[in-house]
C-alpha cells in the first residue's frame, strides 16, 4: 500500500496521504480488526516492518503481513499505554510526517483493541462530534473552541471524497468523517474562503450551533456535483431546497413522482431532457439548453407528461418535477466513488 500511496502522490501531488492513512485506520477500528491486521496495515502503509512490544514480548510484521523474527525494540518507540509500544523500523534519518501519523493511528487502534481495563471508550474525534446532528449544543461549542473556531463566528463546511483533487486547499480544521456514503474529507472554512477541489460540495453558511446543517447541505451539494470537470457545487444555489433535501432520511422510500422520473430516465434522452425542462422557462428554451429541435422537445415533453401524469411545465408541476429529479440525482449519484486526477 505504501507503493499505492506513492502512486497517488505521483498522480496528484496535492493528494492528502495523511487523510487516507486516517481513513484506513478508521475502517480498521470500526471493523474491530485484530493486532496482526493492525500491524500489517501499518507496515503496508509505511513500506517497512512494524514492531510491537507488550511487556517483554516483541512482535514484528513486514509490509506483506508476514511475521518476522523477534528482536529488541529500537531506542525510540511510540508508547501506546502502560508497557505497550510500537515503532516503524529502518526509518530514514528523520521520521517522516507520514510515519508519525501512521504510528499515532496505529497506537490509537491498539489502545482500543488491547486496553481491556479501560472503562471509557475512546471519544470520537472533534470534527465528527462538531458535525454530528445529535451532538448537544454545549458539546458542539466545546469542540468548536478546541478546533479554534470562534464561538460567535459563521462558517461553511465543505465536503469532498477522499480522492478529490485539491487546487486550492482551505485553511481551517479538517478531518475524515464517516457518512452513510463512506468516509468523506470535511473541512470548516471561513465564509469568504474559496476552496477549490474536484469534486467539492460547499455547504450553506451557519453559526456554530447549526454547523451540522452546513455539513449536511455540503453533502447534498457534493452528491449533486456534475462530475470531475465541473467546479465546486454550492448548496447556496439551491437555498432552502438544499436544507430540505439534507433533512430527508437516507432510506426514505421512493415516491410516485420519483418512480416516474426513474421511468423517464430509462430513455437515453431522459435525464438530459428533464434537466433542460427544470432549468428552462419555456419549451423553446428547454430545446435550446438540450440542443435539440423544438419539435423534438415537444414530443419528449409529451412522453414525460404522460409518464408523470401531470404537466411538468405549469404551476406546482414544475416544483414536483424539479424536486423528484433532484432526489433521483441524489440517489444515483456516483460522485463519491472516485475522481481521477486530471
Amino acid at each position: 500500500m505504501q507503493e499505492l500511496l506513492g502512486r497517488l502522490t505521483a498522480l496528484d501531488p496535492a493528494a492528502s496521504q495523511s487523510l487516507r492513512v486516517i481513513a484506513c485506520f478508521d475502517e480498521l477500528i470500526a471493523g474491530d480488526v485484530g493486532v496482526h491486521g493492525l500491524l500489517s496495515a501499518a507496515a503496508a502503509l509505511s513500506g517497512r516492518p512494524v514492531g510491537l512490544i507488550r511487556g517483554r514480548v516483541v512482535t514484528r510484521i513486514d509490509p506483506r503481513g508476514e511475521p518476522l523474527e523477534s528482536s529488541l525494540p529500537p531506542a525510540h518507540v511510540h508508547r501506546v499505554f502502560d508497557d505497550v509500544a510500537v515503532w516503524i523500523e529502518d526509518a530514514a534519518d528523520d521520521t517522516t510526517d507520514l510515519d508519525a501519523i501512521i504510528l499515532e493511528r496505529l497506537a490509537l487502534a491498539l489502545l482500543i483493541r488491547l486496553d481491556t481495563k479501560r472503562t471509557s471508550t475512546v471519544p470520537p474525534r472533534d470534527m465528527s462530534v462538531l458535525l454530528d446532528r445529535s451532538t448537544p449544543g454545549i458539546d458542539r461549542r466545546e469542540v468548536a473552541a478546541r478546533l479554534g473556531l470562534a464561538a460567535n463566528g459563521r462558517f461553511r463546511v465543505v465536503a469532498a471524497p477522499l480522492f478529490a483533487t485539491w487546487t486550492h486547499h482551505p485553511r481551517g480544521p479538517e478531518d475524515v468523517v464517516a457518512t452513510p456514503f463512506g468516509p468523506v474529507h470535511a473541512a470548516v472554512v471561513a465564509i469568504d474562503a474559496t476552496p477549490v477541489a474536484s469534486p467539492l460540495g460547499i455547504g450553506s453558511i451557519a453559526a456554530i450551533d447549526d454547523i451540522d446543517r452546513s455539513f449536511r447541505t455540503a453533502m447534498i451539494a457534493l452528491r449533486l456535483h456534475g462530475g470531475s470537470s465541473d467546479g465546486p457545487s454550492r448548496a447556496d444555489d439551491l437555498g432552502g431546497l438544499a436544507e430540505m433535501l439534507a433533512d430527508l432520511p437516507d432510506d426514505r422510500r421512493e415516491d410516485g413522482d420519483q418512480a416516474a422520473v426513474e421511468l423517464v430516465t430509462l430513455h437515453k434522452w431522459g435525464a438530459s431532457t428533464i434537466d433542460a425542462l427544470v432549468r428552462a422557462g419555456s419549451l423553446r428554451e428547454a430545446a435550446r439548453i438540450a440542443g435539440v429541435h423544438h419539435s423534438t422537445m415537444t414530443d419528449r415533453t409529451e412522453i414525460i407528461t404522460a409518464t408523470l401524469g401531470f404537466d411538468p411545465m405549469s404551476g406546482i408541476g414544475r416544483t414536483r418535477l424539479g424536486l423528484a429529479f433532484l432526489r433521483w440525482r441524489l440517489r444515483t449519484s456516483r460522485v463519491l466513488e472516485f475522481t481521477p486526477a486530471s
Binding site: 487516507r20 484506513c24 471493523g31 491486521g37 503481513g65 477522499l162 472516485f338
Partner: protein
Amino acid sequence: MSDARSVFDPELRGALAVVGGVFPPTITPELIGFMRQSYASAPRAQLLAGRAIDIVDFVIPGPAGEMDASMISPTDAQRDSGAVYLLHSGGMMFGDRFSGLDDALDWVLDLGIKVVTIEYRLAPEHPHPAPFDDCYVGLVWMVEHAGALGILPGRIVVGGASAGGGLAAAVTLAARDRKGPAIRGQLLDYPMLDDRPTPSTGMFDGIGVWDRVSNETGWAALLGDAAEVSPYAAPARAKDLGGLPPAFIDVGAAEIFRDESVDYARRIWAAGGEAELHVWPGAFHACDIFAPHAGVSRRMIAARREWLRRMLVD
C-alpha cells in the same frame, strides 16, 4: 442506509481507503487513459526490490509483428524447471507484462520456477481476437523453445488474473481444440470469463475494485461490434469444458466475477475434469494485488502457491 462496503472484510475496507485513488471501482471508457497511467508497472529495480531474480527480455514473432516478452527466473538458475506462462491483468485495456506480478516474483524465488510473460495487444485499439491470438502464439513459442529457456515442457501452467485469467482459460481451451501444447494446469485468478450478466455482476456497483460498469467497459472494448462472441473471447461460452487440464480457480465472495468463476468450476466438474475452487470471504477483486498484507489476501496467496508447488515442483 447501511454502508454498501460492509460486504468487504474489515482489513480490506481499510485498504480501500488507499486503493480507491489508484484503481477506481467504476471504469468508464473515458478513464482508460488514466488507468494506463495508474496501472502501469513500477520500474524494474523497484519491482525486484533486491530479490535474487533475473529478468531476460525477448522479442518474439507475434501474429501481427514482433511482441515483447520476458522470462523471470531465479538468479543463476542451474537446472531446468517448471514454469508459469502468465498473462497480466488490466481489464483487456491496460496494464503491461509486469503489472500485478509481485506475487509471481515470489513464486520464482520460493518455488524455483520460471515465469514467462508477454506484452499482448490491448483493446479497444486491438479487439478480439488480437489479445487472444498474441497469447496463444506466445505459448506455442515458449513451448517450442522450452529447452533453450530451461523449462521442463511437461511442467507448464498457463495462468493469469482477471482479464489475464480469462485469456489463460481461452488459451487452454484453444490448446485442447487445436491439439496444441500440453498444459500441466490452468491457474485462473478471479478470471474474466463471461460477457453475459450473472447475479454477482450487478451486486457491487460503485464499490471495491472492478464493478459492473468497468466490466461492461472491458467487454465492449474487447468485443467491439462482433456479431457473435467466441469462446476464445469469453471462455464461459465454450459448449464443452471436458478434456481440460486441472484448474485452480480463486475468486472473492465480494466481487462481480464470483458467480462466473464458481460456474466455470462446476461445469469442469460436470464434464469430469479437475478443479480446485476457492471463494474467499469478504474479498474484493484482486485484493491480493492491492492489499497483499491483509489476512484474507495472504490466505489466498498461500493456497495458490501450494497448488503451484504441487503442479510444478513436486
